[in-house]
């Protein structure tokens, strides 16, 4: 019998898994329908650690945002992931906006946001010389930051796995039934269907959380997937702004931001459009133009010729303007983490703490481990100094072979990503773990080499290697001459 089944391995599922892995004698299993962890909303968002002035006071969103913001600082250190507390500005273009800025400031104070101030136009221009000069002022939140969102999830999952949690990829939950003191969770894999017995269920299924909830209880929320599209620009544009620059929020969200990413690129976006299909992450010319035009109000110096990628993410947004975190009327052993839109990424570590204590109250024995390892480290070759580079190459010569030339990622790092606690099996999985292929050539040069290394390290055949999702195989087979070469 499983103790806790966590459905979904996005940033919330990963945070709960990590939090639970501190306790002994528990069998914890994470169920993920996709080919990799953190492959939905958690990998495709702005990557902002929000300060917490946006949510209405008294809401779970306000509580978890401010608490999560404070937790992430230490967590990013423990997990060794890219994070920078660079602060954020909400800029006002007119007097009406200044009223909003003042209101956000008051709300921030009520929510307990530290280091918050309203600054005048001159100060904004001093802090951010590249944004448009025709502004009235801004809300400055020093506690805001940027983080690598998928690495936050992957690294937490790795910590969970190294502390005994099991992750099952390509395992889709198709039904759950409550059978007295336990649940029967039906899962579909490429081996067929299987029924798992578990005492607790955590529903962290993101855009699919309503469906997962409905197996057990009539959902008290309704998810309307909401898509946001982005531009990601070369690192040449990454220093255009120092902080996260928001425009004043409106009903449809926090609006189009311009920000450096934790990796040093520039991100511009998102728009916000409701979509029927939660898996629809396509971009459109019209909405990308909307993003560019809206961002131009903040900064008209963005050189889109330096764009390296467009992407879209789908927010698990609900009709209610609040997170759903808690049990269902039918049982206190099924816990929903639903409606997790922005500031979900920031809130996730704080949500996880509460979810675990809810399970404790419902009878899950929480006995702390003596040997819990809360940290994980990875080698980032390009960040090492000269002596560090020399040492690591002496130890393992594979660190002396640069595979991804744009991001200076070595064979050693790629091999480590493949043999990590949740090893990369796809080309994009390697990219998300060690940045190979994240640069300006977008894997044009390194993807054949990465594919080759995955084959060598895993024994998979080249035609079995996928770019990312199910069915995303890169190669369709050998050429006749290629077969000759292989047989030689």
């Amino acid at each position: 019998m499983i103790d806790v089944a966590i459905i979904g391995t996005g940033v919330c599922g990963a945070a709960v898994a990590r939090e639970l892995s501190k306790y002994r004698d528990l069998q914890i299993v994470c169920l993920e329908k996709d080919t990799d962890v953190a492959n939905g909303t958690s990998k495709a968002n702005s990557g902002i650690v929000h300060a917490g002035y946006d949510p209405k006071p008294g809401t779970l969103m306000a509580k978890y945002n401010v608490k999560g913001n404070a937790m992430i600082r230490q967590l990013a250190k423990d997990l060794d992931i890219p994070y920078r507390q660079n602060g954020s500005l909400v800029v006002a273009f007119d007097d009406e906006d200044m009223k909003t800025v003042q209101a956000l400031y008051q709300r921030g104070l009520e929510n307990g946001v530290p280091d918050l101030s309203v600054i005048d136009a001159q100060e904004v221009r001093r802090l951010e010389p590249n944004i448009n000069p025709d502004i009235k002022g801004a809300l400055y939140a020093k506690s805001a930051g940027v983080i690598s969102p998928w690495e936050l999830a992957i690294a937490q999952m790795e910590v969970a796995v190294q502390n005994g949690v099991e992750v099952r990829l390509e395992t889709e939950v198709t039904g759950i039934s409550l059978c007295g003191d336990h649940f029967e969770v039906t899962v579909k894999t490429n081996q067929g269907t299987e029924v798992l017995e578990t005492k607790f269920v955590v529903n962290a299924a993101g855009v699919h959380s309503e469906e997962v909830c409905s197996y057990i209880s009539k959902p008290n929320f309704h998810i309307v997937p909401n898509k946001g599209q982005y531009y990601l620009l070369d690192k040449t544009q990454g220093a255009l702004v120092e902080r996260v620059i928001f425009q004043c929020p409106s009903k449809v969200g926090k609006g189009v931001l311009v920000s450096p990413t934790a990796h040093g690129n520039l991100i511009v976006g998102p728009d916000a459009v409701d979509v029927d299909n939660a898996e629809d992450v396509s971009t459109t010319a019209q909405q990308l133009a909307f993003v560019r035009n809206t961002a131009a109000r903040t900064c008209n110096k963005i050189n889109y010729r330096e764009s390296i990628r467009n992407f879209a993410g789908v927010r698990a947004q609900g009709t209610v303007d609040e997170f759903i975190v808690g049990t269902v009327p039918e049982t206190d052993r099924f816990i929903n983490i639903a409606n997790i839109k922005s500031p979900g990424l920031t809130s996730s570590p704080a949500i996880a703490v509460d979810v675990v204590s809810m399970m404790g109250e419902a009878g899950l024995p929480l006995k702390e481990k003596d040997d819990y390892v809360k940290t994980r480290q990875i080698v980032r070759f390009r960040e090492l100094d000269e002596a560090g580079k020399q040492r690591i190459i002496e130890k393992d010569p594979r660190y002396g072979r640069v595979i991804c030339r744009c991001e200076t990622i070595t064979e050693g790092e790629i091999v480590a990503a493949i043999h990590a606690p949740i090893g990369a099996r796809t080309v994009d999985g390697v990219k998300r773990r060690c940045n190979a292929g994240m640069g300006r050539c977008q894997g044009g040069f390194c993807s054949p080499r990465v594919l080759d290394i995955i084959c060598r390290e895993t024994g998979l055949k080249p035609e079995e290697i996928r770019k990312d999702k199910a069915g995303s195989n890169i190669l369709i087979g050998q050429t006749p001459k290629g077969q000759d070469k292989a047989s030689v």
Partner: protein, 417 residues
């Protein structure tokens, strides 16, 4: 610290020719640093023929062309360090590099030749909307899989961009049994050499859609369908002209970008028009003793021209090492005028270098019956030459006598059209 008279960064056709030429011109202590397992650069995957017609007066494949230069270099004292990545260079001509055998290397050089080549523009750079399935490749990446690894990337193919690599890949995929449904070009003219249009498309009945572009990509795992639309004169898609192609592969041949990240790290001045370093007619950059040649300087059509340019860079790099010559200060800047997108070189030293120099340039539109004109600051025409056809896809050159430029700080090269 290792020291060399000359360090050549990049062992493709440009680097090999520059090193060989420098050796022939008297410098013996030369190192080529190559990041790949072998030298030869992109020629290794260009297994089609058509290389060498100008330089060797015979038709070679890419690997054969590379082999010629590898053999020439083998007979010299030039050292080659493969699987070695240069991480940075300084204006003082120190080079930082890594490899598995020696670890972190600091290399000093009296002169440096930059010959790092170029990379392909990607889907992200041109913001093609839609899903992001597998099956969208730059043409060069697909070429590598096919010609080096022996793997097919797909069966039903559309190619966006009529650059030479795209055209070559249309033929190559067809020969390997794939169906190439269309080559789509946003401009009203092809960006490839005419011989490639004839030999790679016409001979295989592959349609070329000019003034069209890809406006949507569909597919969850693998590419399933693309939408192609006609564009107006501003390159904006025209609603109602959409065509759908049921395909599993989209190859992009939408331009090449010189790889100048190292160049920029050394503080060398870049020409935003060519995307390469600003150079004098001796191929020297704004940093003394650092030379540039090949596709890192500007994108060439033919490797033969890369070779010629790189031989020149090697020759002057050797002269710099042996004589420490400096620029005279008497220079003429060449600016691009009407219908010209860039020139190389951008600076001509009237004292140093040779008595005449070639100026390479590209036109930015198809021109029938144009006149290439060089004018002085006051509008005086210094030189004019008629030409029946000028195409953006074909690099043009004019040879200038330096005497002609005396007393002019700036001259403008234009084509009336």
């Amino acid at each position: 610290m290792l020291t060399y008279d000359l360090v050549v960064i990049g062992g493709g056709p440009a680097g090999l020719a520059a090193a060989y030429s420098a050796y022939e011109n008297g410098v013996k202590n030369i190192l080529i640093i190559e990041r790949d397992d072998v030298t030869g650069g992109i020629l290794n995957q260009c297994i089609h023929n058509g290389f060498g017609l100008h330089y060797f007066k015979e038709e070679l494949t890419g690997p054969e062309y590379a082999q010629r230069f590898e053999d020439m270099v083998k007979g010299t004292t030039v050292e080659v360090m493969t699987q070695t990545m240069v991480l940075g260079i300084t204006p003082q001509k120190q080079i930082y590099a890594v490899n598995s055998q020696k670890g972190y290397l600091t290399i000093g050089a009296k002169a440096i030749v930059l010959s790092m080549g170029c990379r392909e523009r990607t889907r992200g750079a041109i913001a093609i909307p839609g899903d992001r399935p597998a099956g969208v490749f730059t043409a060069g990446t697909a070429q590598r899989y096919l010609n080096m690894e022996g793997y097919m990337v797909g069966k039903r193919v559309v190619i966006l961009g009529s650059g030479d690599i795209g055209l070559i890949m249309a033929r190559r995929m067809t020969l390997e049994g794939a169906k190439v449904l269309a080559v789509v070009e946003i401009m009203p003219y092809s960006n490839g050499l005419n011989r490639n249009i004839v030999q790679c498309l016409n001979d295989y009945d592959i349609p070329l859609y000019l003034s069209h572009t890809v406006t949507n990509i569909k597919g969850q795992g693998r590419l399933e369908e693309i939408t192609v639309s006609e564009v107006d004169e501003n390159r904006t898609p025209i609603p109602g002209t959409e065509m759908k192609f049921d395909c599993d592969t989209l190859l992009l041949s939408v331009g090449l970008i010189p790889e100048n990240e190292l160049t920029k790290s050394a503080g060398i001045q870049i020409d935003p028009r060519s995307n390469g370093a600003v150079v004098y007619d001796d191929m020297q950059t704004s940093v003394e003793g650092v030379f540039a040649c090949g596709n890192v300087l500007h994108v060439h059509d033919l490797v033969d021209f890369v070779t010629a340019e790189s031989m020149k860079a090697g020759k002057f790099a050797a002269r710099y090492v042996l004589e420490q010559y400096q620029h005279s200060g008497e220079t003429t800047a060449v600016k691009q005028g009407d219908c010209v997108s860039y020139t190389v070189p951008q600076q001509i030293d009237l004292q140093a270098g040779e008595e005449t120099t070639d100026v390479f340039f590209r036109v930015n539109r198809v021109i029938k019956g144009g006149t290439i004109t060089l004018t002085a600051e006051d509008g005086t025409v210094l030189l004019s030459r008629k030409k029946a056809h000028l195409l953006p896809a074909e690099m043009e050159k004019i040879n200038l006598k330096k005497d002609l430029l005396k007393g002019h700080e700036t001259v403008t090269l234009s084509v009336n059209c």
